[in-house]
């Protein structure tokens, strides 16, 4: 039976009876989503995450296709056949969105029991979709099935969407709490993208159907606005791919931008059916020029990208070489130190008195060399994140006290005044006592090295669930232009290098790496050159 008040569509999808701009805007949105999904799938066919995203884009495209048929069509029988698939596609999108997030967050397939839950949730829709519990008929005057659509199954399908939103939110929050900072950003981006998509898609769809069924609205046109949520989702996916290489593919931003522009310009032809020839020619010229310029842009950006990658690889190679060299040097210096130490024991015959000083100097210099190289290796490891930590409940007050006890002799020998103020309280933290001790020692020794005269003040207090250590000195201070490089491997202040030319520049990088691994913060304050400085370390109490 045909809808007698509506004209037949052209090629199933094109009709004058539809709200043109809103309706045809779905076509470029769908093409972009499908192309991106297909591109991701092509670059990792065996990767489950890529397959699931592609599946979601296919389901979304089927939804759009169904909507286009229903809006443009006038064959009641065909539309009555197509209408029941709405609820089925709704349910599938909801469930596969949850499945997708599981795999994205855990980097592995879901458990069997979760899959059984998914199937159980979909079962009512699968069983009832072709029956009267879903759609019982079709209205050929209004050309819709709202009068014959069961609100209960529609409500169930929509509620799966809202269940998906809540379920996904819980998964995202749980993962966010236990992730490192880089993955946290990905969690936020993916979460925002998919939640916005689900909210707009399911929210608008349910509202449109409910208001049309109850007669508040004459038709369900507003549901079309909800479909733009997929475009937002694809934007977030693109950002994830470009910034974090998610889905294990490389897509440069320029490629994504050019593709989207070409599709959007090309889609204008859908709106130009009644326009003059001049407008169509101008649009064609715009499309051709954009495509050529886009291709040139993509090629040049790609060249730069390849160059950057080569530089990164070369840089990594150089870093590894330096690391290996330092290890070897440390090894040789260590052997030298041991040889000098052995000679001083007289086990190889009595050493002449005049030679003892020389041998002692050799031993001290070798020890200094070992310590110097160790500092570089440690700082480099801390910055790159390869330093290992043995995390246990420790008393930070005890760690600081032990370090101060070992180092106060050297401070007093240099003629500096040392003041220590440790407030009462519990200083129990989760940490590696050895690495923390080295970090504290580094800070205090730094103050000692860069304070020609005056005082070093060490304060330790606990407040608001945090431990705060401060090391203040009356030393050379830090210039404003040096502030950014101090905590980086190899970074040395211009004032500090005048006092200690042997500074490796790795000590503070090591301190920063250790403190951040303990979920703490390290920073400094200085009024400028010659005005001393104060270094702060803040750690969370266990």
């Amino acid at each position: 039976m045909i809808c007698y008040l509506y004209s037949a569509p052209t090629y199933l999808l094109f009709s004058h009876d539809v709200p043109a701009l809103l309706y045809y805007a779905q076509i470029p949105a769908t093409i972009i989503a499908l192309l991106l999904g297909f591109y991701i799938f092509l670059n990792g066919k065996k990767i489950l995450l890529n397959r699931l995203l592609f599946l979601i884009t296919i389901l979304f495209s089927l939804w759009i296709f169904t909507t286009l048929i229903v809006w443009a069509g006038n064959d009641g029988g065909l539309m009555a056949f197509v209408w029941p698939f709405y609820n089925l596609i709704l349910g599938l999108i909801a469930i596969f969105s949850i499945y997708f997030i599981y795999v994205f967050l855990d980097k592995k397939n879901v458990l069997v029991r979760i899959k059984i839950i998914f199937l159980t949730l979909l079962a009512p829709i699968l069983i009832l979709a072709p029956t009267n519990f879903n759609v019982g008929g079709f209205n050929i005057t209004n050309c819709d099935a709202f009068d014959f659509e069961s609100l209960s199954l529609k409500t169930y399908a929509s509620s799966l969407g809202f269940l998906a939103m809540i379920w996904i939110l819980i998964l995202l929050i749980r993962k966010y709490r236990t992730s490192d900072s880089s993955f946290k950003k990905q969690v936020i981006l993916m979460g925002a993208g998919i939640e916005l998509f689900l909210f707009s898609f399911f929210g608008m769809e349910f509202v449109a159907t409910y208001l049309t069924k109850t007669g508040v609205l004459p038709n369900s046109e507003i549901e079309i606005y909800g479909l733009f949520g997929m475009v937002i989702f694809m934007i977030y996916i693109s950002i994830l791919i470009v910034k974090f290489k998610t889905f294990n593919i490389k897509l440069i931003g320029a490629q994504a931008l050019v593709w989207a522009s070409v599709i959007l310009i090309g889609s204008q032809f859908f709106y130009l059916q009644d326009s003059s020839l001049t407008v169509k020619i101008l649009t064609s010229i715009t499309l051709v020029i954009s495509s050529i310029l886009g291709l040139i842009l993509v090629r040049s950006v790609k060249k730069e990208d390849i160059l950057n990658e080569k530089l990164l690889v070369a840089n990594d190679g150089q870093k590894n070489l330096i690391h290996i060299m330092n290890h070897q040097i440390k090894g040789y210096l260590g052997i030298n130190r041991n040889i000098f130490a052995e000679l001083l024991t007289d086990d190889y015959g009595k050493v002449p008195e005049e030679a003892k000083d020389l041998i002692m100097k050799g031993k001290e210099n070798s020890e200094g060399g070992v310590e110097y190289v160790t500092g570089i290796l440690r700082g480099d490891s801390a910055e790159s994140g390869s330093l290992t930590f043995d995390m246990k409940p420790v008393d930070f007050k005890e760690i600081v006290s032990v370090v101060i006890e070992k180092i106060k002799g050297a401070i007093e020998k240099k003629g500096l005044k040392l003041s220590v103020d440790i407030a009462n309280g519990a200083y129990n933290i989760l940490g590696d006592s050895i690495q923390l001790g080295e970090a504290v020692r580094n800070l205090i020794e730094n103050s000692m090295h860069y304070t020609p005269s005056g005082e070093i003040s060490i304060r330790l207090k606990q407040a608001g669930g945090k431990v705060l250590l401060s090391v203040k000195d009356t030393g050379v201070g830090i210039k404003k232009e040096d502030k950014d490089k101090l905590f980086k491997a190899g970074g040395v202040g211009s004032e500090s290098i005048k006092i200690n030319v042997n500074s490796s520049g790795y000590g503070l990088a090591f301190v920063k790496g250790v403190v951040e691994k303990h979920k703490g913060k390290v920073w400094f304050e200085s009024a400028g050159a010659g005005k001393g400085s104060t270094f702060f370390v803040e750690l969370p109490v266990k």
């Binding site: 009641g76 029941p84 698939f85 899959k115 072709p130 008929g137 079709f138 209205n139 050929i140 014959f148």
Partner: protein, 138 residues
């Protein structure tokens, strides 16, 4: 085979389910035409309470109708694919299965007083004319 099913049972069952939905729906709607068709039937406000719809705010050309429902195979047999100019589409024949005609009443109009008869329309028109002439006299 057993391991393949254990690893892929989710997608296998799902694909089977979707296939079932597609095939069953196609058979029901496209082959057997087992569904009800709803449409606006003719209605005379002089003899019965009709639903009314208007094309514009001034309602210069009101459309009076009743709500008809017929089983598709029966309607198709009587009128073909297009019910325009098909007289039997406005009545329920004794051979029709699941045929119903709904006229307007407080319940079917959702209590919004859209039911109209010709007498109501004439009274409303006369009331408006009296009000207009009173305004002119003043």
């Amino acid at each position: 085979m057993k391991i393949y099913f254990r690893d892929h049972f989710f997608f296998l069952i799902l694909i089977l389910g979707v296939f079932f939905v597609v095939v069953f729906s196609y058979h029901r709607f496209m082959v057997k035409h087992d569904y009800i068709v709803g449409y606006h039937g003719s209605c005379d406000p002089a003899t019965g309470k009709c639903f009314m719809s208007c094309d514009d705010d001034a309602c210069t050309k009101p459309d009076y109708y009743s709500k008809m429902q017929k089983y598709e195979p029966d309607l198709y047999k009587e009128c073909g694919i297009d019910i325009t100019d098909c007289a039997t589409s406005n009545i329920c024949l004794p051979t029709d299965r699941k045929c119903s005609i709904t006229y307007c009443n407080k319940v079917t109009s959702n209590n919004d007083n859209t039911c109209q008869t010709l007498v109501d329309t004439q009274i409303n028109t006369q009331t408006n004319l009296i009000n207009d002439s009173n305004n002119i006299n003043i």
